[in-house]
């Protein structure tokens, strides 16, 4: 190996410690020593390292009542959620960091946090009624709620205008006539369309909490995520703001961000209960999950379901489906995985099993000697 193959960051760090004239051969030695050897079962070691630690996690999740903190899934359920790359996670949440001027002021931060919360028409209605003959929906608005959110009927009307209904305001009531409705079903659909119309805030953000970090600057935690919209806000520090939804981050920020998020979230979950797992294991898992540019979970729908070997896949889950599909597609199993070699009692291509004989002495080990006749002697 040549010294030039060593990544630059290690050389820089080495020179920082040992001085500019340090002997790079020494670094080379260290570097070579710390490389994983060929045939090391890194995947299984990673699985065991995470698995052993997670046996100490309990299935139960702590739920803290009250409003003072955002209560995010933790422990084993969160780990499962992460590694399975679940589409709808149990507690989607964001940590929004703010730009310098807002971050220093509690009032500004609180004000911004309030503006983020989604308010839909449905949140302001206390009741509604339907006039079938006139195809009319009457919404009774809650004045108190409107006042507390500082929303006027004008705001509501302007938000509902794009829906193209005939509208009129009468005191606290909003009359909507849907001429196209020809059945109760349609009227009800109109009703739900209206009540789910966003008046203010960012869709998906249910609640926000402002907290202060060690440096004294304020940041916002949220229930519900909408990373794309939040990043559009001027007040937001786009370099640090994250969501805890891996798939959302992958689609908004890209696969590298998702990979980092998986590692961060997993190590935070483990560290929160005092478990130490080497980050190399976690980054291996994250790399495997993100290797093809999209986030795939470690499940039969993710990377495990896409293993090349038919038998290895079949030995994981739903064997029949894999076997039948393999037969239809005329698949070949090359027997270069672990599970299929264990099943057929062959040498596993891992560790001592990767070593192959290169030189044939006196022609021994040739194909002829492999015939049945020789074996039975």
């Amino acid at each position: 190996m040549d010294i030039s193959e060593i990544p630059k960051k290690y050389i820089e760090k080495f020179k920082q410690i040992e001085g500019e004239n340090a002997d790079l051969n020494k670094l080379k030695e260290i570097y070579e020593k710390s490389l994983i050897t060929r045939g090391e079962a890194v995947g299984i070691v990673a699985a065991q390292s995470i698995g052993e630690a997670s046996t100490q996690l309990t299935l139960r999740t702590k739920h803290v009542a009250g409003l003072s903190a955002i209560n995010v899934t933790s422990g084993l359920p969160r780990l499962v959620e992460l590694f399975d790359a679940k589409k709808n996670i149990a507690t989607p949440s964001m940590t929004i960091y703010l730009k310098e001027d807002i971050a220093k002021s509690r009032e500004k931060a609180l004000d911004f946090a309030d503006r983020l919360i989604q308010i839909k028409v449905g949140d302001l209605i206390s009741s509604y009624s339907i006039q079938l003959r006139r195809k009319e929906l009457i919404f009774l608005f809650d004045r108190e709620a409107m006042d507390s959110y500082k929303i006027t009927f004008k705001d509501v009307e302007s938000k509902l205008r794009p829906l193209n209904f005939e509208m009129s305001v009468d005191g606290n009531e909003l009359h909507v006539i849907d001429k196209t409705a020809d059945s109760i079903k349609k009227i009800m659909r109109t009703k739900s369309r209206i009540s789910s119309t966003l008046i203010r805030g960012i869709l998906g953000i249910e609640r926000t909490i402002v907290s202060q970090d060690k440096d004294g600057s304020f940041y916002i935690s949220t229930y519900g995520t909408n990373l794309k919209e939040v990043l559009k806000q001027e007040e937001v520090d786009t370099t640090r703001t994250v969501s805890n939804d891996v798939l959302e981050v992958a689609s908004v920020l890209g696969i590298e961000a998702a990979r980092t998020l998986i590692i961060n979230e997993a190590s935070q979950t483990l560290e929160a209960v005092g478990l130490m797992v080497d980050s190399r294991h976690l980054s291996l898992v994250a790399d495997a999950m993100c290797s093809d540019g999209s986030v795939r979970g470690i499940s039969r729908y993710g990377i495990t379901g896409e293993v090349e070997s038919v038998i290895s896949r079949a030995s994981f889950e739903v064997p029949l489906r894999h076997l039948v599909n393999a037969a239809v597609m005329h698949e070949t199993d090359k027997f270069d995985y672990v599970a299929n070699n264990v099943m057929s009692n062959q040498v596993v291509p891992v560790g001592t099993g990767v070593v192959k004989l290169v030189l044939r002495e006196n022609g021994r080990g040739s194909q002829k000697d492999d015939s049945g006749e020789d074996k039975t002697e």
Binding site: S344, N345, D370
Partner: protein
């Protein structure tokens, strides 16, 4: 208006619920209604709850009126003289039986001196907060509460004399101790008749020390010479049962010495212990594999074709064998007939079970462990006065578990054996630590219970002072000889050719999925392959088409069902289960082909 609920059903209402409840209570004490009736007035629901149905646990308490218990010293005097009985006191209304419901209404004092005017009842003895089993444990009130649960369980598992008519009984897994003692440190319950006739332990000399590392992690060292003198020796009974069953068609089993032409005939040797009637006689020594009861059955699963071919009906061997790995003396043979006149035979084999490494022992304070080593008396440590302990117990078992009852019993036992008396270790009311230590000092010993000891092997004085004393140890019913399991080679399953599972089938210990991962994580690929070689088979494969061929290993010829005689046939080493997997694929319409490559 308060409603009245009788046995869970609303039956009516009364004006004053509290007064009604009191009235019923007084009627019960007067003997007008049965004493098992319980009443409670629930203020929160303004309801009188009366229960008189079965299945409620009741407990007896002394009735208190105006801060004075109704039972006087006069009553106790009469009771102890036998002039009145317990029933008389109940009839006089001096004793109440309360259930869980009525207990809510009662204010119960634990001791007489804490009685106030508000109290309604007085506990007969503070011991009654404990159950029957827990009250047998000495100084339980000094233990960590959690420790008393395993302590009770230990006592229940003790090998003692569980039934005085054990010779006439046939029980599965029954062990009987040969020599049992009453504990030196006892509780009041040990004076009851049943505790006297069903002892469960022995008083042994215990030294609390580490010795040569054989009592680590809750193990104990036992004096081998004591064992040879009969310490904790017990016998174990194994019954073997069978019956002459009648089958449809008039055929029956026959208990006899099987003929040589019987299907499944074992060696002549294994029938050698049988008498003419086909049953072993008492006092015969039998060991694993010997037939205990000879039996032949009519053929059941033989097909009609086989019957035709064989001509005469052969009978099938179905004898009862002595379990593999066990040996013993035939103790009793029982012959009896069932309801329908079938002949039943039970043979009880008695096994001697001296203490061996791996047997489990317990105490009455939840400190249990297995024997780690047996040392000859001369290798055991001894005290200045020449006392050699029977058991060496590890001091590391004490601090984390906080079983102070163990230490108190040890001192108590020492005092008792020196003074030639029993020591009262009853919880709450037993002898105090101070009194015991004072008495120990009066016998010329250190009041802390420690003594100077000498290493039995080297004769050197042990620098630390060792805590020695006497206490009761219990041999628990978990004998290693009933649990030990090992295998080099042995029976395999018919279908998969993998080793059988379970001790009784001489099975192997499974190297499971996670253990396999361990091998792989270490990179031990070849070692793993060897571990999984138990169902190794060699199958012939046609190198041309990849199908499994037919091969004659003797003549070294074979053919492929597709390519015929000339096909190149290679022998492949694989697991039998993989071959079954391939066969199952074929059975569901998937045709797996094996493509062969170079081995190197």
């Amino acid at each position: 208006m308060s409603s009245v609920i009788l046995n869970g059903k609303l039956v009516g209402s009364v004006d004053d619920g509290k007064a009604t409840a009191q009235k019923i209570r007084e009627a019960r004490r007067a003997g007008e209604i049965p004493y098992e009736t319980s009443v409670r007035y629930r203020e929160d629901m303004d309801t009188v709850v009366i229960n008189s149905d079965g299945g409620r646990l009741l407990r007896a308490l002394i009735v208190v009126k105006d801060g004075k218990p109704l039972i006087t010293s006069e009553d106790i005097q009469l009771l102890s003289e036998g002039r009145i009985s317990w029933e008389d006191l109940v009839k006089q209304g001096k004793i109440d039986y309360l259930d869980a419901e009525e207990e809510e209404d009662a204010y119960i004092a634990l001791n007489e001196n804490e009685l106030t005017k508000e109290h309604t009842h007085l506990e007969i003895s503070p011991l009654s907060v404990l159950g029957m089993q827990a009250a047998l444990l000495p100084f339980v009130n000094h233990n960590n509460g959690h420790r008393n649960i395993p302590a009770v369980k230990s006592v229940l598992q003790g090998v003692g004399i569980y039934n005085t008519n054990y010779l006439m009984r046939v029980d599965n897994d029954s062990a009987i101790a040969i020599d049992q003692q009453r504990p030196i440190v006892k509780t009041v319950l040990h004076d009851r008749k049943s505790a006297k006739s069903h002892p469960f332990g022995q008083n042994v000399v215990v030294a609390v020390m580490s010795y040569l590392g054989y009592n680590m992690d809750d193990a104990i060292i036992v004096n081998k010479s004591s064992v040879e003198r009969g310490l904790f020796r017990s016998m174990f009974f194994r019954p073997y049962k069978t019956a002459e069953l009648h089958y449809i068609g008039g055929q029956t089993d026959e208990i006899t010495i099987p003929d040589k032409d019987v299907i499944g005939y074992k060696s002549e040797d294994s029938y050698s212990h049988l008498d003419e009637d086909g049953i072993v006689s008492p006092t015969t020594y039998v060991s694993g594999g010997d037939v205990v009861i000879g039996k032949v059955s009519p053929p059941r699963f033989v097909s009609a074709l086989d019957k035709f071919r064989l001509g005469i009906q052969k009978r099938v061997e179905s004898s009862v064998e002595c379990r593999p790995g066990e040996e013993g003396v035939v103790d009793t043979v029982y012959l009896y007939s069932g309801d329908d006149g079938t002949k039943h035979v039970t043979v009880k084999v008695r096994q001697d079970r001296p203490v061996e490494i791996g047997d489990k022992f317990g105490t009455r304070s939840g400190q249990k462990g297995v024997v780690g080593m047996l040392f000859k008396q001369e290798d055991m440590p001894f005290t200045l006065s020449g006392i050699v302990p029977d058991i060496i117990f590890s001091p590391y078992s004490i601090p984390s578990r906080m079983t102070m009852g163990y230490l108190l019993e040890l001192i108590g036992g020492k005092v008792g054996s020196l003074g030639g008396r029993f020591v009262d270790g009853t919880p709450f009311t037993g002898e105090s630590e101070e009194a015991l230590r004072e008495e120990l000092a009066s016998y010329g010993f250190r009041d802390t219970g420690v003594e100077t000891m000498y290493n039995g092997v080297t004769g050197e004085e042990i620098k630390a002072r060792i805590f020695v004393g006497d206490m009761m140890y219990i041999r628990l019913k978990h004998f290693v000889s009933n649990k030990i399991q090992w295998r080099a080679k042995g029976p395999v399953q018919l279908l998969t050719r993998q080793p059988t599972e379970g001790r009784s089938k001489r099975g192997g210990l499974r190297l499971g999925e996670m253990e396999k991962d361990g091998f792989i994580a270490h990179g031990a690929a070849l070692a793993l392959k060897e571990r999984f070689d138990s169902d190794k088979v060699v199958i012939p494969v046609c190198a041309k088409c990849g199908s499994i061929a037919v091969y004659n290993f003797k003549r070294r010829t074979g053919y492929c069902p597709i390519d015929g005689e000339d096909a190149p046939i290679k022998l492949i080493e694989t697991s039998a289960s993989f071959k079954i997997f391939l066969d199952e694929l074929k059975s569901m319409g998937i045709y797996p082909k094996i493509i062969l490559g170079d081995k190197v």
